[in-house]
Symmetry: C2
Subunit: 381 residues, 2 copies
């Protein structure tokens, strides 16, 4: 058990390499924050093992520099629990299976708990079958896709994770928001090189990037957002006015229909295969918006995959070629002003190392949120 609280390190206008925006940040040690999240999850009724798991998955986002998916969401999970939309004691069940597949019912649990348990089933199936694929229904927001996909790496497997999410994205030509930012992660082990970890929203920009612009009161580039009537917008508050995020590609000429394909693929694998809600029926993450009254499935959906590398090729051989792949791409000749091609996973790994040793910078609004949670549950923060 790690004692807390540590004295916070207050750092005004923090702008370290993993914080690309300038604002008032308070840096606190990882272990303190993980313990706090764990204690909050215990308070909402999670069993000890689930509270530990949920805190670890949640904080993994903060460690990797994906601030929008970490502690910034803790109070949101609590509000969902208060609204009766999160079950803190789910019995995560395998309800359908074949040798290489399964469907898991998350019993309305935290995605932070349901996700890793479902991914563990995919890994187990891959052990005997070469690959394992698990679709999940009746779950909630699962943190970062990267956490779940990366579980496969230490087993010398390739991991995949995707999830659908609150509808904020308008397909090409649509003015209705029908898809979430529906991220995909593919994690691939290497040998001496660090693993390849591609973890990305299937929109031009993730919602977290808009939130940063909102806090900074800055305009978004054209191609991230559209107005209620479908016209381009640079207003980061446009979603509150009925606007929408745009699929990767930005517009039809630049391939937004391909971004739509990606988001749709994630939605169908996560929800139509599993029996979760899809498209505009996905329940919103925020508790102040009621889920649709005519659900087409249960909760939100995820999809996980694990592929044993040696089901294709001897592991050492594969890893040595992955090393060569990564080395070749990393050493490519670059455009003026850039020192190297960024291999997927590099920035997040650097953030992880830095934040584990130097603490996690929290935006002052997140710090306030956590303080209120501490007061509410009589936990020191």
């Amino acid at each position: 058990m790690i004692p807390y609280p540590y004295p916070p390190i207050i750092c005004n206008w923090h702008a370290g390499p993993t914080n690309r925006y300038f604002c008032r940040m308070i840096t606190r040690p990882y272990t303190q924050l993980r313990q706090f999240a764990h204690d909050v999850f215990l308070q909402i009724g999670c069993p000890e093992e689930d509270a530990r798991l949920a805190a670890e998955v949640l904080l993994h986002a903060d460690l990797r520099g994906i601030d929008s998916h970490g502690l910034a969401r803790l109070s949101g999970y609590v509000r969902l629990w208060e609204a009766g939309r999160v079950n803190s004691k789910p019995q995560v069940r395998l309800v359908h299976e074949s040798p290489s597949t399964g469907v898991v019912d998350g019993e309305q649990g935290l995605g932070l708990v349901v996700g890793p348990k479902a991914m563990a089933i995919a890994i187990e199936k891959a052990r005997t079958c070469g690959t394992g694929w698990v679709a999940v229904r009746n779950s909630n927001h699962f943190g970062i896709a990267g956490h779940h996909a990366m579980m496969a790496l230490k087993e010398d497997m390739i991991g995949m994770a995707m999830t659908n999410a609150s509808p904020l994205v308008a397909p090409t030509f649509s003015i209705e928001r029908l898809l979430g930012t529906n991220p995909i992660c593919v994690a691939i082990p290497a040998g001496e090189q660090p693993p390849f970890v591609a973890d990305f929203a299937t929109t031009t920009a993730a919602n977290g990037k808009l939130e940063i612009l909102q806090r900074k009161n800055k305009e978004a580039p054209l191609g991230w957002i559209q107005k209620k009537n479908g016209e381009p917008s640079t207003n980061p508050h446009e979603l509150k006015e009925g606007g929408a995020l745009i699929p990767l590609g930005s517009d039809r000429d630049h391939g937004s229909h391909k971004g739509f394909c990606l988001g749709a693929w994630v939605d169908i694998f996560s929800a139509v295969l599993s029996g979760a809600n899809y498209g505009p029926w996905v329940p919103p993450f925020v508790s102040f918006l009621a889920p649709p009254s005519d659900p087409v499935g249960a909760g939100i959906g995820h999809f996980f995959g694990a592929m044993r590398v040696d089901a294709f090729r001897p592991t050492a051989e594969f890893k040595s070629h992955m090393d060569q792949w990564i080395t070749r791409f990393r050493s490519a000749k670059t455009v003026a002003g850039q020192s190297a091609v960024v291999i997927p996973g590099d920035p997040e790994r650097e953030a992880h190392a830095e934040r584990l040793s130097q603490g996690i910078p929290l935006h002052e609004s997140v710090e306030e949120d956590l303080k209120k949670l501490g007061e509410r549950f009589k936990l020191k923060y």
Copy 2:
């Protein structure tokens, strides 16, 4: 056997719904063209069954309106065979397997033949195991990814297909061409609705679109191409000057690093898993460019997947929800000037129906190419 030649229907400045560019087109019946391609494949030494298969797969591109991947490439395949880079009598072999996976050596065969045979193995594995995943090495260009993925549909399976390709694409921040346009296809069966078929290059624009602009002598939109030094370009001939295609997203601000993730994912699954060449080592499709002298694998690589729908959920239930998904998205409110949201696969299916009944329009340069092939092999065209 279908007799040929039919009299060609010459149609100047053809601009039907499936031909978005104006040029001199000659329309010929599908069956005539398929027979001609079949006879050419026989002439280069393919066994009857392989010639039939290769012609069917090749012409499937023309039927679906993806002209760049159909008959326009027939003379290219012949030149590769002349250069000793295509083996017309491959013994396509499964060289490694687990219950749900396999690796196929294409013995330098036509991808048009190797692809469907590998996909058939994936489907067979899915029958017993729920899913099947086959990586292929030592192959060549396989036509459209859609053909292979769609093989799964009639088995009530979801099909996936991807392939790496000649390096024409610069990753974000790179001025070197390290990836192909590396397409992905995901084909998902529905019930009363037609299937969902997303088939797309992981670049902003496929190379075929550049070829159209070259023929029309028109500029490309910014965001498709970069110059040799990485600066943006609108010149569709830029690749001849050392420029490159750009990953989906167009620039870093609009998510080109995500397009790079997609292309990299396809490259690694297709080639590092299978033992094919990857990245800049992928042999070029054009026969006048020699393959790299220091190969890291064999030929080009593909990756195929098949997932039995009922390995997740009863098929009828899944299909009924797919129908609801498709209907809801197709009926979304649209931006001014657009009548409907386009469901992935719609335009290609419409082209297929039109071209099957009315013939396949060929650009005059393709017509010339086919005539020369006819003369060379003493085949009537």
